[in-house]
Homo-oligomer: 431 residues x 2
Amino acid sequence: MDARDLEGFFTTPGAIDPEDHLILDYEMECVGDPREAAAHLCSEQSTAQWRRVGVDEDLRPRFGAKVMELEVLERRERPSYPLEQGPQGAVHACRVRIAHPHENFGPRLPNLLSAVCGEGPFFTPGVPLIKLMDIHFPGRFLSHFQGPQFGVQGLRQRLNAFHRPIFFGVIKPNIGLPPDAFSEIGHEAWMGGLDIAKDDEMLADPAWSPLAERCRHLGAARREAEAATGDPKIYLANITDEVDRLVELHDLAVERGANAVMVNALPVGLSAVRMLRRHARVPLVAHFPFIAAFSRLPRYGIHSRVMTRLQRLAGYDVIIMPGFGPRMMTSEAEVLANVRACLEPMGDLRPALPVPGGSDSAATLEGVYQRLGTVDFGFIPGRGVFGHPQGPRAGAASLRQAWDAIAAGVPVRTHAKKHEALARALEAFSG
Amino acid sequence: MDARDLEGFFTTPGAIDPEDHLILDYEMECVGDPREAAAHLCSEQSTAQWRRVGVDEDLRPRFGAKVMELEVLERRERPSYPLEQGPQGAVHACRVRIAHPHENFGPRLPNLLSAVCGEGPFFTPGVPLIKLMDIHFPGRFLSHFQGPQFGVQGLRQRLNAFHRPIFFGVIKPNIGLPPDAFSEIGHEAWMGGLDIAKDDEMLADPAWSPLAERCRHLGAARREAEAATGDPKIYLANITDEVDRLVELHDLAVERGANAVMVNALPVGLSAVRMLRRHARVPLVAHFPFIAAFSRLPRYGIHSRVMTRLQRLAGYDVIIMPGFGPRMMTSEAEVLANVRACLEPMGDLRPALPVPGGSDSAATLEGVYQRLGTVDFGFIPGRGVFGHPQGPRAGAASLRQAWDAIAAGVPVRTHAKKHEALARALEAFSG
């Protein structure tokens, strides 16, 4: 690429129509001239060859992705992560903001992914390491998407649960129990105060726990718990399966008694979720398998916040994500970025409920709440409810007791002196 | 996990029925005792809690994933890639082979991915870095999958092309041309000897080049080229789009004149490909956007070979993948592993045609052929055909001339002395 070629891939914020472009924030480590690497990054993700041989034309003004900002952060002696094949010498770490014309592909999730996380960005000459850090959509693009059907407020209304977190529990043992035994422990947890009892992300429709039968059992148990407590409850069934079964399994699950469904977002594909959203009559819940494989490392891959935005775009009402604490190997800043991506304004799309999870229990609730600074979140223990020494009813009660203390401004440990379920939870799960 | 808990997650090859298990090869870096980390890795991907509170039971013998082999490779002072949050001290690099009971999820791609690349493996306590290196399927699992409909031999028969590589070309300019201009250069390339002219992975169904219109133009151009040359030709249309349009777009494309379709595997999702496979009447071709985001780094993520195997399982006849050379930042060993994963025996599934690509031209054909040691591959230049100084007809001819030389055992440079298209290609694209 010569100097004139390069110019065709640069622009200024005032020179383009923001409604016609996605804004992409990448961080990259490049060998050689950062301006040339940034131009290649644009070329590779759009008009890799911008004229025919023998024709005087230039397809870049309309179709080229273009650099809006380029900042060189530092020089490093070698790429942060050594590759088996690729540039090995000194690199510049850069931040680059790109405007990508969305008419190149239209409001389609697979084509969006192909452009912004595809061969282009990841095989740019001179760029061994790159991470897509964020993505911003103009209203003109967003208007083609439904987004969440219920959102945070719709879910609260269904549960008649306001001004507090929503209490989820992952029924455990997660794998191997027959539907009747599985529903018994779900029932116990609802009786103790859980809002939403859910299937593990690995439990779907196996021969030893067919979804239809499980939903029938859990549906009956849910209605019993609703009658006994006077509170609405949700059984969240995992319908993750082959794409062409999703609609059918949604119907089957809802008919049998599930009143929300979970679909593992990346394993099924975001586009399949968007398809299901058009059909769904109950809240859609996302789980996060696969995402860590490309989001954990600070300097390569795709930031999890991008996936959170795309899950909201696809139409999820609830997004389960890795939460706080060393166990989840996710920085506090990243968790908070994902929570914000659920709740902050995004065109006309409703907010999704963020559910940061990982080894939670009554002992961690206050810390999570304080870090988030909002009650608009879901709290999702597994063992913290179903591994409680007194069983799942006490496990669920321990969460509600912990919240009562927090809401009243009473130290949780003080409150525990008069509430045994909470006391036993703190004993079993602290530190 | 205490010593007795740990034992429940170990087995020996003779103690399990191989037909009931997937075999998973991971490499990981773990803090603390490698045996404990390996047991956690099994627990997290299967029975994370294997008994109810107050019930004397053990779900592990039937449902637990189990360590078959564990090899400590070396001790490292710190993890190979520093994380923002997670273990930072000394680690052991280990290789671990796990038997995972497939009745936990059944023959479903999203549920398979959720188990083997999901929260379990990537959030195992004490394991900051892990890579799924390979996966092996028993016949009992494979028998539920159709795999490729045509495979290598079926594709050869359709093209009447035997004992040589299949010559693909990515029509360029890839983005921005209207269908008539786009089809003219495709036609030129077929006339020069190309077998398969294809859409770029970023060109799908945009307003400025509607798929229906493009297929109509390219279909007519293809038939003209077939009549003129006497050889069957393929127009490979990219129908990558939202999942619920794939079947409709397949029909539309084929009706208008496409005789193979491409679907970007990961952006659409492997399950959607399996759905399309049940319906498809023409060969299905995979492209690789998104895969590098989790496969490039040697010590984290998922090896691309796993994705190649899954693409074949989903039913692709042709798998385009990053090829040789520094540009593609993929080691020779990795390219060869992916080629083998296409061609080697896999239950009753047909082989898929491997197409390793990246900046290829007549100048690189001999090197690719020599590295592969087989003619069962596709060769896929973009600029090497459509950026040839004499235009696409000469670009395509230069590939066939290069192959004529290789097949005859004549040095390509010698052959170029009497073949101008080849001579100009070597001049333009060498080194």
